[in-house]
Symmetry: C2
Subunit: 95 residues, 2 copies
């Protein structure tokens, strides 16, 4: 069971990934990425997939040609946890 982020720790953690937006109606964060074409979007997704598998923490995501939408939350925490913040940082570094 992963701890759900709350209080000051939550505020600080989310402040470190400001480009990720809160999702309406779910305790989750999301971000959109746009690339030149599908080839480049897929390359990005593949690197994220490797990182997610390694961390055993996977995104909810969608792809339409050169666009990728990523939503992060921790299902077994019932909301955001430090795992999401860590994965968000890895994804930003890859992008």
């Amino acid at each position: 069971m992963t701890a759900k982020l709350a209080g000051k720790a939550r505020t600080q953690a989310l402040a470190s990934i400001k480009s990720w937006k809160k999702v309406r109606g779910r305790d989750a964060i999301q971000k959109s990425f746009k690339f030149t074409d599908f080839n480049e979007a897929w390359g990005f997704m593949t690197r994220v997939a490797m990182a997610a598998e390694k961390a055993d923490h996977h995104p909810e995501w969608s792809n339409v040609y050169n666009k990728v939408e990523i939503l992060l939350l921790t299902h077994d925490a019932g909301g955001l946890s430090l795992k999401d913040v860590a994965l968000a940082k890895v994804i930003d570094a890859i992008a």
Copy 2:
């Protein structure tokens, strides 16, 4: 410009991919796939990505852990075309 499927050709084409369902409100088809885990789902997606890039015809799709949702339509046709039917068959063969 790709021709949009209509009339008898459309009926026959869709009859050949019956496991794909019509999407409400869009001239598109969709299908859900479920795998053992993310690793297997990603393997499937990678093979579909290669086929899509080769055909220069890309799906709208989403993934949550072991589940993959795929929606097909031809943007420049404004709806379903034979490209979607061909890609649907390739995806079914991969799955």
